[in-house]
Symmetry: C2
Subunit: 251 residues, 2 copies
């Protein structure tokens, strides 16, 4: 007999942006393995669960991915409802496949519960659609970040340069490299760019152009941030183009 | 005095994939203007609201977009909580910007509530991440569909061809054109492709390759479908590559 592992998206941060299904499963959970960015407010939805932080914390390396996968398989042998809680949606930049493959190989029952990815929450904060008639009909979600031990390259930049709207995850620390890679692929240095930190939680918003990307990144704090680049963000970039970073619309 | 208009994502279909915030607002709503694809099960979460279907229905044209925008502005003068309910996420292929611009111009208070977009639900159904270490680090969300009166072109195909994973919305009726546009841009005809119809609701799943796209589309029914193309879907495409279309994992 085995319990079930639920790979659940915790959404962008605001607790009421969890799905009804995710909230129900948190209420039933016996054990939760969560990323570091999942807030206490969200974990409070799981009063009976034991909680284990397996994410990266300031300066300390994250728990080894293979170890997390093994832990999930073992946990399902002892608990009925095991929740693997990941920020945003588990199927976008969440390393979910390695866990899914391990669960499949072990014959452990599992389900995936979608969550709101930060790019959508950032668009909501800015009141700017990722797509817009006559302006943007394609959106690329990319990251320049690679797993430990993997070689960094700029293949991600092809899709970001080709799309009308680029949503760049985990890119704040690589702002100069992102700017250079996109300009090298023909993107205009003056294309509007907006940084949104702490989407859905009233974080920092800074607007400018692709050329300004490093200075936008410098205006943000320690939290995870998203870089949105595209003509659709022309007005939003101007609205948030202050020397001092402004705060999001939904403060 | 004015009420507030909430542009709310209804998610991919399953009612419990609404966010907690969306469900709360539906419970408070006085008036709901919804797309045709929003299910009765979701509308049942709004017992006190008057409901108005402003979406496209079989053969009949959708309500004019400018008319919907005017209706939202007027509705907020008479009702405290007006919900504009859109399938998926309002900020992706939802024509939200035209409504946001009208609400802004009229000085009508509004908020945007994110929803799960179908691409994420399809990935969950297939138990296949949109991104995968060493295989896919970029995802493009595109549509070949254009608004009435707009000229069709294949600019959307640039981003779909450049990304490791392409999620194509509203493309089922243009399968041959999509195949040709991607192959013309250098995508291998043998790249894995999966069609997911009715994501999150146990709809049809059909797998094959980019070359097979028209035959995958022919296996689906009347519902909205998503086309997922990329090496990450190699196993999913084989798993669902039957002459008879299979049903989704979450039936």
């Amino acid at each position: 007999m085995s319990g079930t592992v639920y790979l659940v998206g915790a959404g962008p941060g605001a607790a009421d942006l969890l799905t009804l299904r995710a909230a129900r499963l948190l209420g039933q959970a016996d054990l939760i393995l969560h990323d570091a960015l999942v807030t206490d407010e969200i974990l409070a939805l799981a009063p009976r669960a034991r909680k284990l932080n397996v994410g990266k914390r300031a300066g300390r390396p994250s728990t080894d991915q293979a170890f997390i996968s093994r832990l999930l398989v073992r946990a399902a042998r002892r608990h009925k409802v095991v929740v693997r809680l990941k920020g945003g949606d588990p199927m976008l930049f969440g390393r979910a496949q390695e866990e899914i493959d391990a669960l499949t190989a072990a014959g452990t029952p599992f389900e995936i519960v979608s969550g709101i990815s930060a790019g959508f929450a950032a668009a909501a904060d800015l009141a700017q659609s990722l797509t817009e008639r006559h302006i943007a009909r394609s959106v690329a979600f990319v990251t320049p970040a690679v797993a430990r031990g993997d070689k960094a390259d700029d293949a991600w930049a092809e899709a970001a340069a080709a799309a009308d709207t680029a949503c760049i995850y985990m890119g704040k620390g690589d702002a100069a490299r992102i700017r250079d890679a996109l300009i090298a692929r023909g993107v205009a240095p003056g294309r509007p760019a907006v940084l949104v930190e702490g989407a859905s939680r009233g974080g920092v918003v800074a607007g400018g152009t692709l050329q300004d990307l490093p200075s936008l990144a410098a205006q943000s704090g320690d939290g995870p941030a998203l870089l949105l680049i595209g003509e659709a963000f022309a007005e939003a970039a101007i609205r948030h183009a202050n020397a001092e970073a402004s705060t999001a619309r939904r403060a």
